[in-house]
């Protein structure tokens, strides 16, 4: 029992943080927006070189063979920096699913190996994820109704562009074509898709948590600088306490998020309820954080010039991805019905 990240886990996170600090500042993002771009090949390449495109792919399929515990921090950092490229979508969700179902199909295994080293990306459509980002440029588009999986190239799958609030999240809907491949329904497929869905919600929660912290940091920075009535506005309790409340909210999302990652990693049947908990809380928290950050910025917060709206818009999109409030509340209710509440014993107990 040790609820800390290992040194190796911390190192991956720090490396990514430092990389994105260099190549994914909001200044970089604004240049992309001005140029109408949503993807930067050189940044994707840099991520690939760190092995991040194949974190959850087993080593024998060409990935790093790490777990959701590593990836949850990666997703959180991608959130914090508003990474536009589909690292979480592909390496966190679609690709590990593909790796799980490719079996002995050598063509599929080849594709997995290529995606794992960053040669393109994959995306997954799902009833809980009807609008997926970067589907048009995907090497591989997967779609599941929960029981079966279809896959193919974007053209075959009939992806259609949908313009979203966030200028750096190109969303697409899908109308599956007839010509593309199809899996047979099986228990194994169903289980793999369910896990992919859990990963989707988990990493969406992680990204929202990262955004919440960034939004808070920006509000704090502004509140320290901006003076009114002869004092920094951050010295007024009206501002102070509102921001402190955001910090409290964030502090109580993180442990849930990390525990949910550990539960998914060990395939525990409590995992889904904790993923739901993380998703719900992260969603509330990022709403609180981004709205309050806008308000602390005053009129500036309503301008295009201040960066905060980029965080608000990304949060809007993510908080509506991978399931609805109803769905996640239902998953929490299932835990309540089945386990009762005093089960730290159960939560941390040996699942064997």
């Amino acid at each position: 029992m040790d609820f800390r990240f290992t040194e190796e886990q911390e190192m991956i996170a720090e490396t990514l943080e430092s990389l994105l600090g260099d190549i994914c500042s909001t200044a970089h993002l604004r240049k992309m927006i001005d140029a109408g771009q949503t993807y930067e090949a050189s940044r994707w390449q840099a991520l690939a070189e760190l092995g991040l495109c194949g974190v959850l792919v087993p080593e024998d399929l060409g990935g790093l063979g790490l777990s959701e515990i590593e990836f949850v921090r990666i997703a959180e950092i991608c959130g914090a920096f508003l990474l536009p490229e589909p690292l979480v979508e592909s390496a966190g969700v679609a690709l590990p699913l593909l790796a799980q179902i490719c079996g002995t199909d050598t063509a599929l295994k080849d594709i997995v190996a290529q995606l794992a080293v960053g040669e393109g990306h994959a995306v997954l459509f799902h009833p809980a994820m009807p609008l997926a980002a970067h589907a048009d440029t995907a090497r591989f588009v997967l779609r599941s109704d929960g029981k079966r999986i279809k896959y193919g190239r974007p053209g075959e799958m009939g992806v259609q562009a949908q313009l979203a609030a966030d200028p750096l999240t190109p969303l697409f809907s899908i109308a599956v074509g007839e010509g593309c491949s199809d899996s047979l329904p099986s228990e194994q497929i169903e289980k793999a898709v369910a896990t992919a869905r859990d990963r989707g919600a988990l990493f969406a929660a992680a990204r929202m948590t990262g955004i919440a912290q960034s939004a808070l940091d920006q509000a704090v920075a502004y509140a320290r600088e901006r003076e009114q009535f002869g004092k920094p506005i951050g010295s007024y309790q009206a501002v102070k306490h509102r921001l402190a409340e955001v910090q409290v909210a964030i502090e109580f999302v993180r442990p849930v998020l990390y525990a949910a990652a550990a539960l998914v990693a060990r395939g525990d049947d409590l995992a889904r309820a904790h993923v739901a908990h993380a998703w719900l809380r992260a969603g509330e928290t990022v709403r609180l954080a981004t709205e309050r950050a806008v308000h602390v910025h005053g009129a500036m917060g309503y301008s295009w010039e201040a960066d905060i709206h980029l965080f608000l818009k990304r949060a809007l999109v993510l908080s509506r991805s991978w399931g609805s409030r109803d769905l996640h509340l239902e998953h929490v209710a299932m835990r309540t019905n089945r386990y009762g509440a005093l089960d730290a014993e159960r939560l941390f107990g040996d699942p064997r």
């Binding site: 609030a165 308000h295 509340l329």
Partner: protein
Amino acid sequence: MDLIYTREQEDFRMEVRQWMQENVPAEALSSFDASREGFEAHRSWEARLNAGRWGMVTWPEAYGGRGLDLIRWLIFEEEYIRAGAPLRVNQNGIFLLGPTLMEYGSDAQKSRFLPTMASGEEIWAQAWSEPQAGSDLAAVRSTARRDGDDYLLKGHKIWSSRAVYADWAFGLFRTEPDEKRHKGLSLIFFPLDAPGVTVQPIAQIDGETGFAEIMLDDVRVPAFNRLGEEGQGWSICMTTAGFERGLMLRSPARYQMAAARLVALWKRLGDDAPQSAQEGVLQAVMDADAYALAIYRTASKLIAGGHIGAEASTNKIFWSTMDMRLHRTALDLLGPLGTLTEAAPAAEDGGAWLDGYYFALSGPIYAGSNEIQKNIIAERVLGLPRA
């Protein structure tokens, strides 16, 4: 207490309804903040309204109004919004400056400015804030130096709504340079095309340019353009702010209509509507009702000779909170579709809910931030001590 419309009030409603049915453009005008074209289309609409003497029904007939009371204004607004008539591009004029002019202006000023305001010939922008004077408005630095019968205006205004395409602006200027804070300020009007005025559009969160920076470099205006006495600017401005926060700018029909649209969306979604958002829908209906009732109550008091005081602040907190809540609920109802802009093929209601959410976000900021309003309520209504 009598909560029934009179026969005359009902007749008035029917008159408005009929005029609107015959005159409201079938197609929605394009945004007045997005292009000169949209702006001018709205100006034409103001002219048409004015031709029907609907520019501002509470104003005296001499200035283009009908001399009606506030209850009728509320009825007018209900019918206006019900008919889906365009947003008032001249709202800074008719709802803010207009009532202030009525209270503080000379007859000559009223005759000069009100009729062209009612007709939309002159569209107004506000010029309150400066880079260092936001919530702390009394920190304005822009000056008006007296020069014979004129003033020379100098300074830097910001977040001026409508300033990109408007004709005129009104703002606070320091007429006594040695005075500090609330003293020595005057309210002065200036034409936005006067020599020395530079207007720099500011892009908003939604990409439109609803506000602008205004640089004033020795802009010459006649002293006639000063409202009230020299040095009286702060107290006049507080009156205007009361209008802004309170009754006029935010007619209840707008929120009732928004709540009605939300209910319609909820019904349309049927079983697809998330259960957990239902209470938000009911809340929106209750909020809109509560606000409407509160405004009718305030209107009744004003008609009987009462004054609107700190109620303006409680109103402002309520409507801004309600508007945020309502749009959050709408986005929750829509799920992933709620994040789509009007350009997206799958967008519901043409992306209006997302636009509405952005606009609602500005509610707690403009017209005096909610933090400032809470200070006002705490100190002036509750009598708590100043910090």
